[in-house]
Point group: C2
Chain length 200, copies 2
DNA sequence: GACTTAGATGAGGGCATCCTCATATATCCA
DNA sequence: TGGATATATGAGGATGCCCTCATCTAAGTC
């Protein structure tokens, strides 16, 4: 049975509907990024999209579903980026792999900011966030495993979690924003670590 | 002139008042940590402290002031811990210094959880958070500078920011909570980095 | 061109939240 | 002890938010 009372997002059926949901999602992305999940209001989001509230509720029956839809969209984009990385993996040095991973979040600024606002700071209703995190963890572990075939799977997973943490920290520092040199230092730290664990 | 309309927390004048604010702050700490800033309600906090709402507002004229008071209290505790570290510094190896810093947030679990909930995810009203972060950055930079007297101040500051980021990440991983081995990996990463930058 | 369905629209119901305030009680000091 | 002030107390005002719904318009389909 589906979770509690959330129902799902209604998919648009006509071209006008597709434009609407795109505008609504973009607006939601911006407002969530600026104000955070709780402080963002449905009225603000609709206004930002130039749509009446009723239209917002036509496609997203409540605020949680709207947030979930954004996280899902972001997860899809990250998945595609990881596909590309996986294809390019054989030609990459460990340091280059580290850099590519560290660029994953910053490369999509608006989605990243909204994700930072949505993924944490949502009591209970964070199933989607957990799923996103686990997906990232598993896929990164898979990448790393191919570069360290002799390392136990458990150990690879722990390295993946640690590195994922550093990826998230880079995203947070960039969103803050911190001085470019300081961010470079942090990236260097993550790179140093990955080379230490996997070899060059 | 003081910021906008916030006024300040009223200091208790009698012994009973001191007990009240202590109870109220402890309750606020717990509720903020559990629910986050926005979702936590003044009614919940008062109830948790066994106090009527009126008493809560007697000492904290609004929710923001209450949050600020908690951040200030936490900043004070961290300052004292840094005093102790500063005194012990001459006898510490770089790795030991790194470990001590990485323990700074986790050593006070409840305050840490509330700080994580309050420091981010508060649009606009985050002056206190910024002050806390800057204080930490400057004090860590001061510690590091004493171990690397020849390094330019600017470079030391960037290392401090990067290391502070890793300290925060450790706190987040512990609050999540992540597997102990993964946290150990992350700590090892930060240690590795600091030794690389400052020497043993 | 008529019919069916997707989408548009926005006033307002219901509700939870922050905070006020008038009154009552406890605490301390001279 | 008596007076002054700090603290206690909780009903309810004001506000803003999420979401509904009844009605209307546009878009496809035969």
């Amino acid at each position: 049975m589906p979770s509690s009372k959330s129902t799902a997002a209604r998919a648009p059926q006509r071209k006008r509907g597709e434009l609407r949901v795109a505008a609504l999602q973009d607006a939601a992305l911006a407002v969530f990024a600026e104000k955070g999940f709780e402080a963002a209001t449905m009225t603000q989001i609709a206004a930002r999209a130039g749509a009446p509230i009723g239209s917002l509720y036509q496609f997203f029956p409540n605020k949680d579903v709207l947030a979930d839809a954004l996280i899902d969209r972001y997860a899809g984009q990250l998945g595609e980026a990881l596909d590309a990385l996986e294809a390019a993996l054989p030609g990459l040095s460990t340091a280059a792999l580290a850099d590519a991973l560290l660029d994953l979040f910053p490369s999509r600024r608006h989605e990243r900011d909204a994700a930072l606002a949505l993924v944490d700071s949502r009591p209970d209703r964070n199933t989607r966030s957990a799923a996103l995190r686990d997906m990232m963890r598993d896929r990164i572990a898979a990448l790393l495993a191919r570069r360290a075939p002799d390392k136990p799977a458990q150990a690879v997973r722990d390295v993946a979690i640690a590195f994922l943490g550093s990826m998230k920290m880079v995203a947070m520092l960039e969103a803050e924003p911190a001085p470019a040199q300081a961010i470079a230092e942090f990236r260097s730290m993550a790179r140093l670590y990955l080379v230490d664990r996997l070899g060059a």
